[in-house]
Point group: C2
Chain length 471, copies 2
Amino acid sequence: MAHDIAALKARLAGIALEDNPALVRQKSRDFFWYSPTLKRQLDSVAGALIATPSSEGEVLRILEACFALGIPVTPRGAGTGNYGQAMPLAGGLVLDMSGLDKVLEVAPGRVRAQAGAIIAEIDTACRSSGQELRLHPSTYRTASIGGFIAGGSGGVGSITWGGLRDLGNIIGLRIVTMEATPRILELTGEEVEKVAHAYGTNGIILEVEMPLAPAYDWIEAIIGFGDFTRAAAFANALGEQDAILKKLLSVISAPIPQDYFLRHRPYLPAGEHVVLAMIAPIASAAFDSFTARWGGRVLFHSDRTGPEEARGLPPLYELAWNHTTLRALRVDPAITYLQTLYPFPDQLALVARIHEELGDEVPAHLEFVRFDGKITCFGLPLVRFTDETRLEAIIARHEALGIPVFNPHRYTLEEGGMKQTDAVQLAFKREADPAGLLNPGKMIAWENPDFDFSTGRTYLFPGLSAQAREE
Amino acid sequence: MAHDIAALKARLAGIALEDNPALVRQKSRDFFWYSPTLKRQLDSVAGALIATPSSEGEVLRILEACFALGIPVTPRGAGTGNYGQAMPLAGGLVLDMSGLDKVLEVAPGRVRAQAGAIIAEIDTACRSSGQELRLHPSTYRTASIGGFIAGGSGGVGSITWGGLRDLGNIIGLRIVTMEATPRILELTGEEVEKVAHAYGTNGIILEVEMPLAPAYDWIEAIIGFGDFTRAAAFANALGEQDAILKKLLSVISAPIPQDYFLRHRPYLPAGEHVVLAMIAPIASAAFDSFTARWGGRVLFHSDRTGPEEARGLPPLYELAWNHTTLRALRVDPAITYLQTLYPFPDQLALVARIHEELGDEVPAHLEFVRFDGKITCFGLPLVRFTDETRLEAIIARHEALGIPVFNPHRYTLEEGGMKQTDAVQLAFKREADPAGLLNPGKMIAWENPDFDFSTGRTYLFPGLSAQAREE
């Protein structure tokens, strides 16, 4: 179906639009190229027009116009996602939310901001009241809060607060529906689950209200161990220290740190498996005692590093979560990665098992988190990529061992997540996007209700080929 | 051994002393009468003299004088302990620390106070910076911080922060030793474990440095369930909600609330088993959603109670922890209690099992906490006391089922705790109290190194009879 972009432009007079093909293509992409599979599938994806509203009223005008003309709308924050979340598989309009970037209110325990606000900017606004966001992705300095909620799941802070899916980590969302006359809704409590981590398929997030935690000048520490399973056990035990307040707790096996953490290299002796930890200053002495008990070697400690020496070092969280993979990719473009969960209480045994079997081809990277009230870890292992068949075999091997994989080589909500229909999100899409114009191709349950997840077959959105014609 | 109290008085000229027998007896007691066993054993315990120093210098003078004269010193905070912690089994001097009550410094994330400072007063001082203590006992409004650390283990706040034993819940302690020339030591990191929960047997706490958490106007909620095991399962699941910030999570079986929570009675229908919860206001909507999912009945909610109606209601934490027993005792003096731990991951099955077997005689009271990184619960069940033999049988039955009992009917550290020698605390006593003058009779490992805990025999301090002669 050809979209009447000319008619759309006419209706959107006065709103910032961009149709320069190079710029449109740039704003139609995210970090999908982490995955060789997505790179192959999505490299030609582009919208027809970018709109950058500067007010809620402009967002409503855009949605009303697109609905009237049957033009798909794919919302975009800062484009820091990894799964093509913000890529317009069916072409049409890319709704760039970066113009709605205001921090609206900071109060004790909570902040309200527009969806396009950059996460680091929100923290800056909260800092004078001694507060900061509970959770942020490793793309803290560039990602938008709306994009994090629509396309992220947790990250830095999850060791204390769990994930975005946990009730209470998003206080409220102000959203707008995609209808003839778009409606504004305020969602709170469990209602936020309707649109959180839905890639913008069933509503456009306008504003967010997030809980805040006390801000600290977090100590950044890198602790080394000669044995990988010992490093993992230390991190698990440190995670279970309820009184040592933490913001990050990552385990990265050698030689990842030595090969890819270029600025930190002077601190990283060959062969050391490392634990990255962000610790509240008030827990400093407790952390030292605990580390000494385990025989951990303190390779780096931000409180014991001079300002001259520290200059030029990236923040520790930019070695962790998805930034670990990014640093590896910058050195070796053949690297890719997986996203796995090591279920409690077997996490350490499973970590050891898979590392023993695949550790050279799939170097281990663990992120410890609170998950359903227990400490366990996600895996974000690197993969020394050969071909897609081998990648699928590696995934299958994890699943056979009881290690679920949230496949980062798929662009749909379901395949990248729990591999089942989210009935709440599907029902809300019927209500909020009856014409199916929001971010088409990302929710299998909508596009193909009969799709059988049990076959393991990859879902391919038919519109992907259609939109190629539109360009 | 007779103590030369007259010589002591002479040496302590200028320090506030009290030797009126009625007042001395009053200041030689705590809430030991919670236990019929301790009431029988300790009712006649009294020191010979109370000293109430008003400065660190006076504390040092007192210790130096007592050491020179060989007079035992038993430190006392506000006397709100339940196990005779602050009772001078060997007579001598009671060191009343209530005169050292200053809050010295409030900084981001931490507070420093003198040991005799009342916990609620510390929080008042911290409030202007938006902070409060992580942990407090139900005797918040009367207990001293030094007494809490010397004789307590956790309480309100443990659902988020674990217990005082956890590394990081006490930042530092300034203590003084009992030697010819008392030494002042600053302990931090794991060093605090030398004297925390040691009943003042191996050093006198002068100052404490404690971590702070954000202060909230905590929502107080009472949720009702028709079925006790359902109430317990709800509380366990709510405990595991990492993003719903909590300060208290108690489960109390019917008819305890109806019979003993007199002021709250209008909110407590017959037969309802209740969950007491203190929830951060930012988690209000999430808590509502979660409660509705479980079919919990909101019997009381502080945000939905008018000021007139709320007047005269005690704070919710004064229905919980050791206050539950206190309220029962006020109505029925024959009530006593136990302290148990339901080990993870079997806590709900063990709770159901013991409740089914003993629920009428031992009505259930659970306090959910974080313990070694997991959510589980302590039990503080009431006991409808008949005699000590039956009480021992009830304790034995718990232990046979795999439910450890921290026996509140014993006055020694070991029997009330882990029933084993604490080598760290014993070693430190050798160093800091070589003459064994601090709080005699409380540390079995010191008094009788050959005592065999495995026999289950009760330790009886020989000095208990000796001190009766002194009066």
